[in-house]
Each structure stands twice: as C-alpha cells, then as structure tokens.
Amino acid sequence: MLLYIIRRIIYVIPIVISVALVCFLLVHITPGDPLVAVLPADASQELAAQLRAAYGFDRPLPVQFGLWLWRALNGDLGNSIATGRPVLSEVLRAVGNTVTLAIAAAMIGFTLGLLLGLIAGYFRDTWIDKTATSFAIAGVSVPHYWLGMVLVIIFSVELNWLPAVGAGPGGSGAWSWDWAHIRFLVLPAITTAVIPMGIITRTVRALTGDILSQDFVEALRAKGLRETDVFRHVIKNAAPTALAVMGLQLGYMLGGSILIETVFSWPGSGLLLNSAIFQRDLPLLQGTILVLALFFVALNLLVDIAQAAIDPRIKRA
C-alpha cells in the first residue's frame, strides 16, 4: 500500500509542474500590457520600463517561469497588483469560505444523491425510479447560476425568509457555524448541491442496477439472505466507484464556484477570481487558479488512494 501511495505521488509531480506552466502561460496569452491595472494611462516610457523591471516582466519567459515556480514552491505567489497584498494569503482566506460552502453543499448533495440513486436503482423502471431520474436529469441540466437567482426570488424577494447575498450579518469577514451565519449559507449551498446531486444519483443508480443483475446477488438470495442484507452487499460493491465520483464532485465544487459565488456575493475563491479577472490583476488571477487547480489535483490523488485502500480489487503493487 505504501509503495502504491509513493508511486501515485511520483506520477502527480509532472502533472503539478504542467499545471503550474499552464497557470503561468495564462498571463502571457493575455493581450495587452500585464501592468495595465497599475500603470496610469499617461505614464512615461521610463516609468513603464521601471515597473516592468520591478515586476520582472522584462526577462525571458523561461527565466520568468523558473523564478515564479521557485517562489511559488516557497509559498510566495507575488503581490496583488490592485491591492499590493500577498496573493497567497488573499487566496487562502477566500478558499476557506469556498470550503465552507462546498462542505455544506456536499452534505446536502451527496446524501440526496446516494439516497435517490440507491432507491432508483433498486426499484428500477417503477414510478419511484422515474421520479428520482427526473430529479437527477433536472439537476445536471439546470444552469445553477439561474437556479440561484430563482431561489433568491422565492426565498428572499417573495417570502423574505433568507438573505439574498453575503456571508454573514453586517458584512463581517469571520465565519462561524451559528444560525446568524448559516442563514446566509442555505441558498448558496442548495444551489451548489444540485449538480453533484444529479450526477451522483445517475452514477449510483447505474451502479446499483449493474450490481443487482450480477449472479452473486442471485446466489445471496438463494442462500436465504434477507433483502436488507442483500442491499448491504450492493452498497459495499458500489462504494469505491461512488466514492471516486463524490471526490471528483467535491473538487468541481471547490474549483467551479465562481458563478454561484458571483450570484450570492459569497466571499470565496470564485468571487476573488471574478475581481481578479475584471481588475486585470494578473498575479492574483494566476495565483488563485494555481491554488484551486492544486487543490483539485490533491483531491484526485486522495480519492485514488482511498479507492485503492477500500477496494481489494484494485491492484496496489
């Protein structure tokens, strides 16, 4: 098992370097001067050259990449052009809020998805299955940013039950798990949960159906096992794949939160990305994408390892 983990980690290293390269190059496919955010329109040639040298934009690309990667490895992602604050601390603070949102959404989406998927797979082709499947297909097809708007219209505008935007009373930055704060979390979390709910329902339904049609289930029933015990076997067999899908979905929620965070003004990494794009704050853009992508890679690695740990059928050598 240890050998398997080490091999997986070694396999991830080139991916991490390539991801860093993509993030680095993103800034350099950008049309226009990367300093446009800080440079006044009437700046002199000398001032522009000075600033370019200060930010290191005057060196050859491979050198810039090497330096940037070296600094990133030491936890220095540069300073935000717009605010002048270190990118890493800005990103990590925002990621904290995104993690809060993703965990809440995961609790809702994963529970519902597993439940609906198991039920739909077990009662295949009945009305129960059809209802659950319709929920799932609506979940994967809905433009989630629009669903967020509709929820705000219903629960904030019409009913006035829950706040429409923000992450806490008075716009305070600190999060805590009390009702005053959770009120703000309900709508964004439900909105975020819808896509994973749909995908997990569909996956688990297909898995359950496949497992139930295998011969060993027939054997279990012939042995006289009660249906609840048969069901336990089904869950055990579905777990590794379901786990992999859930891990991937958690990664999507962390990395793909920009649309929902924009709708709800949720102060997470997505909203940070949004402001980085529109203020043309390239170091911040680069840093946010790098941190989110590395989170995603790490999560995938963990899922692979966890899957190998619980599923004896996966070769660990």
Binding site: P14, I15, S18, V19, V22, C23, L26, V27, I29, T30, P31, G32, I137, A138, V140, S141, V142, P143, H144, Y145, W146, L147, M149, V150, V152, I153, V157, E158, G251, Y252, L254, G255, G256, I258, L259, T262, V263, L273, N274, A276, I277, F278, L285, I289, L292, A293, F296, V297, N300
Partner: protein, 300 residues
C-alpha cells in the same frame, strides 16, 4: 454443382451491398429513437427553439434593440408585451427569440469544433500508439487537472471578454474530454481482425483510419458529444453571465440574465425568463443524448 449466390449478383449489386448494410444500423437507431416519446418531445421543442431563432426577423416580433424609458420592466402579460419588458424597456419575447441565435451558436459551436479536433487527436493517438499516444494523452491529462468551469473561466478571463474568445476557451475545455473518449474507443477497435485484414491487404494508415476505423468509433464519440452540448450551453451562457462573453446590447440569454439581475426586486419573474430558456435547451439535449445512447445500444 450449385451456383454460389454471389455469382448471381451483378457488380453494381455487389458494390451496393455493404452500403445498405451500414445504413441498416443507423436506420435501426433512427427507428428506435423515433419510438422514444421523451426523445421525440425534446426534439420537437429544440427544433421549435432553433427554427424560431432562425426565422426571428420574419415572425413579426418587436425590435429587440429598441428600448423605451417609459415602458421599462413591464410585467408578464402586459398588453402588447406578452412576456413583459426588460430593464431598458425592450420587448422580452423578441429578445428571448432573437437571443436564441447567439446563445445556441456559442453553446453548440465549441462542441462541434471539439468533436472534430478531439476525434482526430484521439484517433491518431489510439491508432499510432507509442510515443505519439503518450505525448497526446499526457497533455490531455494536464487539462484534466483543472475543473472544467475553472479552466473555461481562466482562459476566457486571460483572453478577455468576447464571443470568439468564449468559443475558443470552451473548445479548449472540451477537446481533451473528447480526445480521451476517442482514444479509448480507437484502442478498443485497433486490434480487431478487420483492421488487421485491411492492413494485410495493403491499406495505408490514413486509409485504415479514415475508411475502416472512423465509422466504428464515431458512434460512441458522437453520443458523448451530444451530452456535452448541455454542459456547453450552461457554460457559454455562464461566461456571458459573468461578463466574459457577449457584450451589450446583443440579445443573448446569459447576458440578459446578468443585466436583469438588478431587477429581481422590481420584476422578479421577467428577470428569470432567460435562464428558463437555457434550462429548456440544456435539459432537451441531455434527454436527447440519453435517448440516443439507449437507441444505439442495440444489444438491449
């Protein structure tokens, strides 16, 4: 001595024989799809949305660009404005119908482009194998290290707002996914006897790929691509919603949703209409893709 049945066929009949057989498979798929009520309902709705967008100028609708300060944000059902008006007093019905033009193009074109590029890359990687396969598939792996929403927004954000940039960024997001599917299907077909037979009879690699393999791998890739259209519609409109795609005053569903967001306290249900259109198209393609998948699975 019995005459072999082949001897009784003319040359033309012989040449026609494989073609009819190939049509037989797709005809079967088509018949199965036609019998599927859900798929047909989706097809009809999608067709209606497509056609109305296509012939919008001849439908006698109001001018989608013509606003008026005195008739802003009318409610749904107001006389003369069946679906109300937007924040600049423009007729919503006209804007929703015209909006289909850009929305459908920026949603579907990336999938078509990625289908072409990804199929080519996957076919080459799968057929040639070796170092070329490693090079292509490891590059694809790098793109899989990004959540697709993040990748689309990152590329769009770096390239800057605009329709072309948003199409480019979505194409870049989908090419790796289609390449992976195409590669795995091709690898499965590559070692089959008929490919070996074609090679033995002197066919070159391009002839084998084009004539013998393409037809066998295209089906699964096509089904996968139709499923992507739904994701692409949501993402393309999402980019416009963020302000990274279409620019005002063009009617486009994602952008309309964005500009109407400020109006949700005044006229909430009009503000939600463009999203309902995105939802309808997206769910339509998803169900159609599901229907196509089960129709092509002839064994069941």
């Amino acid at each position: 001595m019995t005459v072999s049945p082949v001897g009784t066929l003319s040359d033309e009949q012989l040449q026609a024989a494989p073609a009819t057989k190939a049509r037989g498979y797709w005809a079967t798929v088509g018949r199965r799809l036609l019998r599927d009520k859900v798929s047909m309902a989706c097809a009809v709705i999608l067709l209606a949305i497509f056609l109305s967008a296509l012939v919008a100028p001849w439908l006698g609708l109001a001018d989608p660009y013509q606003g008026s300060m005195i008739r802003r944000l009318k409610h749904i059902g107001t006389a003369g404005y069946p679906l109300g008006t937007d924040e600049l007093g423009r007729d919503m019905l006209a804007r929703l119908v015209y909006g289909g033009r850009l929305s459908l193009v920026i949603g579907i074109l990336p999938v078509i482009l990625a289908f072409g590029i990804g199929t080519m890359l996957g076919l080459i990687a799968g057929y040639v194998g070796g170092k070329l396969n490693t090079a292509i598939m490891r590059t694809v792996d790098v793109f899989y290290a990004f959540p697709s929403v993040l990748l689309a927004i990152a590329i769009s954000g770096a390239l800057g707002a605009g329709i072309v940039n948003s199409i480019v960024s979505l194409t870049i997001v989908f090419v790796p996914q289609i390449t992976r599917v195409a590669e795995s299907v091709t690898t499965g077909v590559r070692n089959m006897d008929f490919v070996e037979a074609a090679r033995a009879s002197g066919a070159g690699p391009f002839t084998i790929m084009r004539v013998h393999m393409l037809g066998n791998v295209l089906g699964p890739i096509f089904v996968y691509a139709t499923g992507l259209i739904s994701v692409s519609m949501i993402l393309a409109a999402g980019l416009s919603f963020l302000g990274l795609g279409t620019k005002p005053p063009e009617p486009e569903w994602g952008l309309m949703l964005n500009t109407l967001r400020t109006a949700i306290y005044v006229n909430p249900w009009v503000a939600a209409l463009p999203g309902a259109m995105i939802f309808a198209v997206s769910i339509g393609f998803n169900l159609l893709s599901d229907g196509l998948r089960s129709a092509m699975d002839i064994r069941n």
